[in-house]
Symmetry: D4
Subunit: 164 residues, 8 copies
């Protein structure tokens, strides 16, 4: 949880989702991008969602990452109430292993877009990287950190598989 001014909101439907969604916070921290993580249920606290979104942009939020499982409506409902870019992360944990959350997030009808990423931690990490790519369009510091991350990531892939 960086001390930097939050520019990315990470919202999730349940505190249990944090075990996956903290991968987004961690990735943003590594890129020194401030974030703000909140629990907001599209179904159980709909007013909290609209209240949050009413001031999010004025509060400095530029991108919203929304993680939810099962019939995952959080990202779509968020996108209905804001023009900020909304990144959806389908969460596993249901009996259908996240296929329900994936389809409920990605299959948005035309008119209100949600940018969707992979089910689970890979998706949470990639949503953070994509938020950085959006910020990098106008912020050279972010762009440089992102470039360094990409270089380090490539360099970190070992040439050979592990032999025990």
């Amino acid at each position: 949880m960086s001390d930097a001014r939050p520019r990315v909101a990470i919202i999730m439907g349940s505190p249990n989702d944090w075990k996956v969604m903290q991968a987004a916070e961690q990735m943003l921290d590594d890129l020194e991008i401030g974030s703000d993580a909140r629990v907001i249920s599209a179904h159980r606290t709909p007013e909290r969602l609209t209240a949050f979104l009413a001031t999010a942009e004025d509060d400095g939020i530029e991108v919203v990452i929304a993680g939810a499982g099962m019939a995952a409506h959080l990202a779509g409902v968020t996108a209905a109430h804001t023009m900020l870019p909304v990144l959806g992360v389908p969460l596993p944990g249901s009996d259908l292993q996240g296929l329900d959350a994936l389809l409920a997030t990605v299959q948005m009808p035309g008119g209100i877009p949600v940018a969707t990423f992979a089910i689970g931690k890979a998706g949470a990490k990639n949503a953070a990287l994509f938020a950085a790519a959006i910020l990098a369009r106008k912020d050279d510091t972010v762009r440089e950190r992102l470039a360094k991350f990409r270089e380090a990531q490539s360099a970190g892939v070992p040439e050979r598989p592990p032999r025990d």
Copy 2:
């Protein structure tokens, strides 16, 4: 479209959904239950949804039937804003033939229920019959009409398949 006072609201995400959802209206008409059909998009007109739900119960609505396709959030978002029984009808038409709408409607997390029916017209008709079954718990007239429908339905099944 019966002239009776509307007791059941039929809402749908797009005017295109009417070709399926009118099966609900027709079934309610046959049971002489008044209904009110509206187009309300969870994503494109979220304020219209909350405005409608704010007065629905006072307006005499006792059950809401919500039909939507793709990442179908309409029934779930409706259920988040009302304590009326919400019946969800997943609509086909997407490339995934309604599997996306089915999972996005039925897989609601614990706490906010949506009663879900089959994909498409069979689901729209059954949602109407189920609305009648709810009303029949306190309205003997509806109960009698429902009983007559059930009898007629049984009697209408032919004994033999058609020979041309």
Copy 3:
């Protein structure tokens, strides 16, 4: 298991299903709605089902919640023999993780409705909440308890994810 007069029947195909279906009983208990839990297999004890349904309404049952797994026929067969509202809960546990039970419950052909909820415990809890919503249409006490539950549920969602 409340001492209140049972108004909701909770039936399930096998005693093993109880580990999921007790979530329905628990939710009804919390709402002080009496329930009656029984094991009735659509396949192994079909006569028990028809005998139970023959007197259920006279015994004060107003809603039936039916949980079953695999080729889950219990809810559909129940709905064929009663005009009471039937709520189906697809159970996981098969190799297909409940997808079979979901489709076998929700895809009812037009004419005999089963209101279907999510696979597993979330579905069992939501079926109980939906049963309460049906009873609330004519019982203000239930309506008030349901309203209190919904308020408490909203208030119970923490603002922030857990930091260890």
Copy 4:
């Protein structure tokens, strides 16, 4: 529709199912095995099903072929009420193209078996061939006709694909 004494019952949930299920009758006709085709809905005419099964064995029926679509309960409910071999044919036509009917037919819990065949016409034809294989266990005439069918079938496969 052979004039021979019916030994195989072909039941289906709706008259619309006949366009698929007549493939079973045709195959039985070709093998000179008498059959009796009936429309019996597990959901809309449950009494008709139990009445039929109560006398089926005494009426000379030795095998029941049951075709149904969507949440296909017909074969399973039939098997619950008889010890005759029950052959299930999942029918397409739903938005899910018969995957729902397949799982609702084949995934029977342990204790009450339904022998399941492919979705649609291939399954209807194969159910008829399998009924013949059952009868052939005690009826040499059927066995010989089945053997001739198998030989003719093999011989009828062309060596080369068609060149136009």
Copy 5:
């Protein structure tokens, strides 16, 4: 493993399949029907399969139960080489949890039938019960044992779920 003369062959693609398929042997033992369990791989020992089938009927085998996983070809290839009734049991264990084996077993093209049962132990048990139902068409002793099993099974379903 009963001492009775084997009338049912239980074949499986790998010795690992025995942990599931022994449910078929056990059920047949309970019904005092002799069986013969063998490992025969359609892919790795095709000659063993044809050799076995060449004499199976003369050896007294009346029904073949074939269990296999993944791209499960064993039941279909068996059915191609015999006119005996072939019962297919799709086995789980693959990454796709037996969906592959189910489709590879049940979706036989028209002409060569395989009677398919549920994935895993439920299917193995039901295949055994179905084999008994076939034998019961000409063997009253089997019919009586099967009737007793069915009665005992119904009686064994407890009325209430377990309270700890």
Copy 6:
């Protein structure tokens, strides 16, 4: 095809994909955002892809929309070669109706993000809207046009379904 300087590249694997992907161009045109549509196959013209990406950013491209079907690798391979935001549109048309393209696009492993949208035209339109939302982070003109589109879109939803 707007005359404005292209800021969004629309690439697709085959000229046949244009019938879907032109929905992205149309939406960008409506928002007066210049775009550049190209056919680039990840498999058949890999060099064309790297050549295009080598200069894309210098050429003024700020977002890449990539549409592909079947084993859709185009968006992922694009993301591997650029730090620009890459938006993936899975295309239908295969026997699996785009489920293959959806999974091949959205399930990117952690490290290289692709923002994925719905299968087909809805996804193409939403990718364009999302591209606009990215540009709007630094371009008030785009933000205003996007706001107007959203308002018009909401206003354009009819209150009632069509009565013929």
Copy 7:
């Protein structure tokens, strides 16, 4: 159908499969590789398959392409009887659109490999190209023709989508 000595066998389960499988013949013709197309059903003509395979290698066949639909066993059974490389093409046309054929072909258990390609015509064409890649390992003429095809294919991708 080239006059060249057949080096690749194209076998298929039914003459109806030819409308897809001729894409393999056409591709081989274009590469001037002789092929031999035959109808061989794994289920209806198993002896024809073993007879064909017994002499295939001596007859000059170096690769076998096997196309089949539904519970597609042809490629797997072929691989069980030969050490030649076997290429499987899953065919669509079933209610499950080839997903059954795909899983029945690709999910071969360890020990007997089938190289599997995409469902339908794309898979048939690619199987032919892959057969050429195998032959190219020892035949420079084939290698050169394959290289030319690849070059022409790349060159044939238009730079821009079609504008009408």
Copy 8:
């Protein structure tokens, strides 16, 4: 890891994939075929892939086995850059259990083939056996070892399931 000159490259997207992919190396070792295992990510190290492929054929590589999970692009991108036969192994481990990797590998559009094998270890082993089958077309030593393996494999299948 044989000391023989590497003729088969085994590449994989992540060092974690080695726990599955070493089944390919082991099988090749058993057949005394030299192999070279490398970690090459299509997404994180695209240049490493093209550099490897630029010299692979000159370095003596005749077949490439590529294993990857999730949106598995490695095999397809490899095939785009080489005319060597590319064998794809879809890896499990994602929430979708490898269904994503399977479709992302096997559903290649026409023009660039990837020979695909089963998800996981069975697929890795079979890819190695298939590589051997390709080499055997021109190398009698490999052919003989493969024949011996096949014989030993058949002989190693026990006649009976294990009795404890």
